[in-house]
Every structure is written in C-alpha cells, then in structure tokens.
C-alpha cells in the first residue's frame, strides 16, 4: 500500500506549500480578529435594552447561521466588487465573508458568556453601591471573559479549518496549494495525507490548549 509513497514531492514543493500555509494563517488571524471585534459589538447590541436593535442583530445572527459558509463566500465574492464598483482581489472579498460569518458565531459565544455570570453577582455588586458600569467592569466582564476564552479558542480552531473553503474561489491557501501540486504531478495521496496530518497536529494541539485553559481559568 505504501510501497510507492513518494516523500520527495513534499520536499520539492515545500516553499509553495509553505506560502499556502502562510495565507491560511494570515486569513485565519485576520478573520478571528475581525470576527471577535464585530462579534463583541453584536453581542453588546443583543444584550442592550433597545429592543429593535437587539431584534435586528438576532435576525442577522440567525440568518447567517442558516446558510452554508460556501454560499456566504460566493455571495461576497460576487457582491463586494459590485458594491465597490471595481474588481477586488478575492482575498479581501473572502476575508469580509469570513468576518461577517464568524462574527455571528462569536457573538453567540460572547452573549452566552456574559449571561452565564450568576445574577446574584450583579445584586452583590450593586448592593455595595457600584454603578452599573462599575459592576460590568470589575465584576461581570472579568468573569465572563474567563468563561468565554476556551470556547472562543475552540471556535477559532473551527475557523482555521473553515478557511480551507477558499478552495471554491481558487484562493491559494494551504489546501488549494496542495491540490494544485497533487493535480499537476498526479500524486494526490501524498499531498492530501500531508495536509490532513498538518491540520490534525495543529488543531489537536490547539484544542488541548483550550481544554487546559478551561480547567485552569473557568469559574
């Protein structure tokens, strides 16, 4: 079965594959950052007492969670250049798609994190005379953040895996680069197994880290 396994092909194309990995990491990093920022805004909006605002955000989140990510990518890939009026590199279209998509998931995690802080804590903080802002800042948010971080990390690992979907618009991330080599040299086995192994190692380590954070810091 593994008799004709050809490791050399991995060595030969290492720079090309590495560039693909860089793009994957870049896309993930930017999408996580953007997603967290937008997700926080959305979460705060959903928890706000202004009902219409909360309702709109809830509709947005539910809407985005009903669609496959591939469809969202296609939407932004065709829509962004039309909106801006001129051609846009697929990297930016895809990045916007990822940020909008992941923000919906992040906002749910953040909202759940804030809601998970015991109600009694708010009472205790206010009973001491702390204002609402002070209660949020010193009592609620520190606890919410500690509970949220492991789950946010898990979602970011999912995000890393999701970036492989840029294949459908031909963006040269790690998987697409491997696919190019695999098709060109007709060696799918070595390339795809390699990609699988790399992801397995990265994601497995990251999820172990998330577990450790959970055990150490979650309240």
């Amino acid at each position: 079965m593994f008799g004709s396994f050809d490791f050399a092909i991995l060595w030969a194309n290492a720079p090309f594959l590495w560039n693909g990995m860089l793009l994957t990491l870049q896309l993930t990093g930017l999408a996580v950052t953007g997603g967290l920022l937008l997700g926080t805004v959305l979460a705060v909006a959903r928890l706000s007492p202004i009902k219409p605002l909360a309702w709109v955000v809830e509709a947005y989140v539910n809407f985005l969670r009903s669609m496959p990510l591939i469809l969202v990518i296609f939407w932004f890939y065709t829509l962004v250049p039309k909106l801006i009026g001129r051609p846009v590199s697929s990297f930016y279209s895809v990045l916007i798609a990822f940020v909008m998509f992941e923000a919906a998931y992040y906002s749910e995690i953040i909202r759940a994190g804030i809601s998970s802080v015991r109600r009694g804590q708010i009472s205790a903080a206010m009973a001491l005379g702390l204002t609402k802002m002070q209660s949020m800042r010193y009592v609620i948010l520190p606890q919410a953040v500690r509970n949220m971080v492991p789950v946010l990390l898990t979602q970011s690992i999912v995000m890393l895996q999701d970036t492989s979907l840029v294949y459908v618009v031909g963006l040269r991330d790690f998987l697409t680069s491997a696919d190019i080599v695999a098709s060109r040299d007709n060696r799918p086995t070595e390339l795809y197994l390699f990609v699988a192994l790399v992801f397995l190692v990265i994601c497995f380590s990251a999820s172990r880290l998330a577990n450790r954070l959970q055990r150490k810091y979650a309240l």
């Binding site: 496959p68 469809l71 999701d162 492989s164």
Partner: protein, 241 residues
C-alpha cells in the same frame, strides 16, 4: 448596484428551474442519507466513550479526535482521491470503475462519518450529565450494564441532547454544500452554475439562500415540537460545544 440588470423570471425558465429543483433535491438527499449513517454510528461511539472498558473509550476518543481536527473539505478529498488508491487492488478497482454515483456516494460517506463524530460528542456529554447515582441505582436493582444503558441512561440522554443535535442536523444540510468540490450538483453548485450561465448572480444566490433558510426553519420547528413532546419534567438541555 444601479447598473445591475434584474432578471428574476429567468429562474423559472428551463433548464435553470430544473437545476434548482434537482440541486435542492440532491442537497436534501445527501443530508438525510448522511444523517442516517451519522446518527446510529455516532450514538454507538458516544456510548463507547462512556463505557467502563478502557479500550472502547480510547477507540471512541481517537475516532472523534481524528474526525474533528481535520477540515471537512480535506476529508472529502481524502475519501474521493486517496482512499480508492489505498484500498486493496480489487476494492480500489470496484470503487473507481464500478461503484454507482461515485461522487454522490463518497460525499454521503464522508459527511456521514464526520457528522458521526459530532453526534458522538453530544451523546457522550448527554450521558455524562446524568448523575452517577442513576447508573448505580440501575445496577443495584440487578440490571446488567447493557440494560442500564438501554432503559435508564440512553432514553434520558437522547431527550436532553435534542437542542444540540438539532444544530448538528442543520450542520449536515449546510455541509452538504462541500460536495460541490468533488462534482456533486447540489443546490449551491447549481446556483453558482446558473450565475455563470446567466449572470443573474443575485437572483440565483437568493433562491439558494431562501431554500436553505426554509429548511433550517422547518427543522427547528420540528425539533421544538419533538422536544416539547418528549420533555422530562424539570430537566434542562445539555450539550457539547
């Protein structure tokens, strides 16, 4: 956006209308068949992860760890391009030449096995959430471990994991779109194809979006009814992330 020529009626013309219908049908079919694999398999693996037998537990954990840490798209490529090469010669030949609907079948198998890992996680957390005392009470009555699972643990676990299972079930519908990368003409790929032929991007993608939202809404509704009918008084839902 002003220079866009709206063209909704084109979606009702042939062949585009048929494309949408068959695409939607394929999406549903892939999802349902994949779930038919994932649900029983995932339940079994989830149960294995709570067993007293260490070998069973490790095997279950290994399965889940492998399937959850490799991107689904990579798994799809592995199944379609790599597995036929790695199989013993006769099987490999059958898969490559004689298996009916190769792309469709591969997509279903891939999605089914992946989703099974998610179901396994839900099942495990559902059973773990049941207080140990329940298991002990069952054993103390003289029930065998398999009976304890069958009559005490599993019925309760299934009820409490309905909400997270719903989200995984919806995930199967959404993930069916990945089949387009190996050539299955499901809904999203058909929408893309219509866009390429007619340039009616907005219209085509809107139809696809609406159909997905419809499916989601329907599934959530059915699951809510199911949850209401089977609820055990006083329990809260539990699930894995």
């Amino acid at each position: 956006m002003g220079s866009y020529n709206w063209n909704w009626p084109i979606l009702l013309k042939e062949p585009y209308f048929t494309w949408i219908v068959t695409g939607f049908g394929k999406t549903i079919l892939i999802a349902v068949l994949a779930w038919a694999i994932a649900f029983p398999l995932g339940s079994a693996i989830g149960i294995a992860r709570t067993a007293d037998n260490r070998a069973l537990r490790y095997a279950g954990t290994a399965y889940v760890d492998i399937f959850r840490n490799i991107p689904l798209l990579v798994q799809m490529f592995l199944w379609y391009f790599v597995v036929p090469e790695l199989l013993p010669a006769d099987w490999g030949r059958w898969v490559k030449r004689e298996m009916p609907y190769p792309q469709f079948t591969t997509a279903v198998v891939c999605l089914g096995l992946y989703t099974a890992s998610r179901v396994a996680e839900q099942m495990r957390s559902g059973i773990d959430a049941i207080p140990r005392g329940q298991r002990n009470a069952g054993l103390a009555m003289g029930l065998k471990p398999s009976q304890v699972y069958r009559y005490v643990l599993i019925p309760v676990a299934y009820r409490t994991i309905i909400p997270p299972l719903t989200s995984d079930f919806l995930g199967v519908f959404k993930n069916s779109s990945l089949a387009l990368t190996i050539g299955v003409l499901e809904l999203t790929s058909q929408a893309r194809q219509i866009e390429e032929y007619t340039f009616a991007a907005f219209e085509a993608f809107t139809v696809a979006t609406v159909l997905y939202c419809l499916v989601t809404g329907l599934v959530i509704l059915i699951m809510r009814i199911l949850e209401g009918r089977t609820r055990i008084a006083g329990t809260l839902a539990v699930g894995a992330q």
